[in-house]
Amino acid sequence: MVVFERPRSLSPLPFHYCPGCTHGTVHRLVAEAIDALEIERRTVGIAPVGCAVLAYDYFECDMVEAPHGRAPAVATGVKRTRPDCIVFTYQGDGDLAAIGTAEIVHAGARGENITIIFINNAVYGMTGGQMAPTTLPGQITTTSPYGRNVKTQGYPIRICELLSTLDGVAYAERVAVSNPKNVLRAKAAIEKAFRYQTEGRGLSIVEVLSSCPTNWGMTPVEALRWVEEAMIPCYPLDVFKDTGAKGGMNK
Amino acid sequence: MTSRIILAGFGGQGILFAGKQLAKTAMHKGRHVSWLPSYGPEMRGGAANCSVIISDKEIGSPIISQPDILVALSLPSFSKFEPAVSEGGLLFANSSLIPEKSKRGDIKAHYIPATELAAKNGLAGGANVIMLGYLLYVTRLFDYDELIGNILSSIPASKSALIEGNKKALLLGYEYRG
């Protein structure tokens, strides 16, 4: 009996991600959700610019590689012209929460019927550990070498809370992939975010708190602990909006 | 034979509409035409003008530096374009809003109190079409029926109330004799 196998929607390729990086985990969860809903034949994924830029190689569905931050606009172009396709973006925090803020906010405002997988690891990974819009106050990065000073470098952006105020957003939940229990919650959230698209509910976003041991200068285990001890207090795990819940719950 | 016509006035006076009627009527007669509007933040209230060229041959520049015919509905447009009218050209001035007379001896000037005529006949906003009627009478650019047919076909069904007003306005101008 096979107890563990590769999801159909995940390509049989070795990931290029660093040891201890949680992108691989999230990729797997996305692929599992696509498999569970049996939508891989009509799914089109939009890859970002950032560590996950090669995501187009890792999913066994049609993929488009978008310019930095523009994935929600590209997704809009695909979804509006091919409404039967299931369209998702996979974006990091620099991509979505800095350069692509306008695109994600307006995709939400328009209620684009797409799914957004948003990786928040509080740092620019691919370019080598610079400060991100999601970097924590006091956090040291290569461009905040004295720690992020909120007086001069501003405050972290809480994307799920922000997007949950938009009428076009159907579902916004923040999860973490820091321990098995949280991974299971993340799996359920990601599947729901895809299911809501099949039901035509509007934009769904799952923000995934992820680790970046390489750029944080930690071991993988330390990094997962840091997600829980440092990130979750700033980015609480919660469902911020769920139009499918009883009474269309909105926090 | 080429006619270069500038229609000018305030935004909101229906300058562009009037120019379009000339261009469209000429097009339906198989002539070459171009219609070039001034554009920008002057949709209402500011200065508005358009250049209409009607020709037997293909039209080069759609821009008119020296009009053969000037239709001026406001004083600023009169002041701006009257000196540019080509020698032997025609001027049609809305004397309700243009108290001045052309001092040029080399053009033929025609005056019609279009705004007053419109007001007296309950045709608010009809000065443009009254001017067209007068222009038509003087120039015989088109047959009366051709022009009125085109004007009426430009009125959308949702604004059919405007049909009678436009008919009346064109006739008023056409029958005006100074």
């Binding site: 090669l54 590209v74 695909v78 | 379009k20 219609w35 070039l36 554009y39 080069g60």
Partner: protein, 360 residues
């Protein structure tokens, strides 16, 4: 009854696109091209298509990218500052080999510039519309009728060679009305290749498609760039368009495109009436450029006069094309100022006199 309708250039290009099967328009309002999106907003829903007003030109061009990746005919239009914003997406469209139509109804620059007609984006359009070794198929209509016809051609070339096409017009052509005969404008139809590369969901019937412009291996990137260059060479061989008026016996040849060519046509008539042997060579494609026609003309013409609504952007292309066999002069206005035919005629007369003096 003629088939002709009186339309603005902006409306004619929109209607032509729709009739060419472009049912998807993404844009952001900007003067002097807003009629394009207004027209599309009215007509596309009736035609079963979609006109979406994006949050920015940046988003609009990326929506076009997504739609083009999904295999449909899609377009956007803007004016100069908006096109600058789109240059990122334009480069990605090229890198991803996606066909689409982009319209630039030019206004004055740099910066916010002005809203009156210019041709100040010639170099951007033909030399550097985005980063990387790239070109767009660039067409420059000179009448409202041609606005419609070149939309059709641009879409066909885009689909044939998997390249974005750019229609470069200006505020005057966009705003002016002229008669259009759409049947005549859209009479040429090509057999177009299947878009088997489109990302529409593999349906379990084929391998997955990837639309992408990233190549981490320099060898692979070079191969990709060079294979695109081969397509560019093919476009140069087969898709150049220009129009010559009275050039056969001309001593002085005017070179102008778009609205400047219209002004030149009037100047040309006046020059001929004065007995000056002048002609007009009007590039209709700005990339690829009609180099062969210019070189041919350089065989007999004595002098070239380039007329543009800018400070001299195409003039070097004329010098290169004519291989500097003949003197090339320039006359232009910018910022939204339009030269009159009389202004151009004065330049022609000056050149004519200088030729006579040399001959004497």
């Amino acid at each position: 009854m003629s088939q002709k309708v009186l339309m603005k250039g902006n409306e004619a290009l929109a209607e032509a696109a729709l009739r060419c099967g472009c049912l998807y328009f993404f844009g952001y309002p900007i003067t002097p091209q807003s009629e394009v999106s207004e027209y599309m907003a009215k007509r596309l829903p009736q035609a079963g298509g979609l006109c979406l007003q994006a949050e920015s030109e940046v988003a609009a061009i990326n929506m076009v990218l997504g739609a083009a990746a999904a295999g449909v005919r899609a377009m956007t239009s803007s004016s100069s500052p908006g096109i600058s914003l789109m240059s990122e997406g334009i480069s990605y469209l090229v890198g991803s080999d996606l066909p689409c139509l982009i319209c630039n109804i030019q206004r004055g620059g740099p910066g916010l510039g002005g809203i009156q007609p210019t041709q100040q984006d010639y170099l951007q359009a033909t030399k550097a519309p985005g980063h990387g070794d790239m070109h767009l198929y660039v067409v420059a209509p000179a009448s409202v009728q041609e606005m419609a016809g070149l939309v059709a051609r641009a879409f066909d070339v885009a689909d044939t060679y998997r390249t974005p096409a750019l229609l470069l017009a200006d505020g005057a052509l966009g705003q002016m009305m002229e008669p259009v005969d759409f049947d005549a404008a859209l009479s040429v139809r090509r057999d177009l290749p299947e878009k088997s590369w489109a990302t529409t969901g593999h349906g379990g019937k084929r391998k997955k498609n990837i639309v992408n412009s990233l190549y981490l291996s320099p060898e692979a990137l070079e191969r990709s760039v060079l294979s695109r260059q081969e397509r560019y060479r093919e476009i140069e061989r087969t898709e150049v368009l220009c129009e010559e008026t009275d050039t056969a016996d001309a001593e002085i040849i005017l070179v102008a495109y778009g609205i400047s060519a219209r002004i030149c046509r009037s100047a040309l008539e006046a020059a001929r009436a004065m007995g000056i042997r002048a002609g007009l060579l009007r590039p209709i494609t700005l990339w690829p450029y009609p180099r062969a026609a210019l070189l041919r003309a350089a065989g007999h013409a004595k002098h070239f006069l380039v007329v543009e609504l800018n400070i001299g952007q195409m003039v070097d292309d004329v010098r290169v094309a004519t291989q500097c066999h003949r003197p090339v002069s320039f006359f232009g206005r910018c910022g939204g100022m339009l030269p009159t035919p009389e202004d151009v005629l004065a330049e022609i007369v000056k050149i004519h006199e200088s030729i006579r003096e040399e001959g004497a």
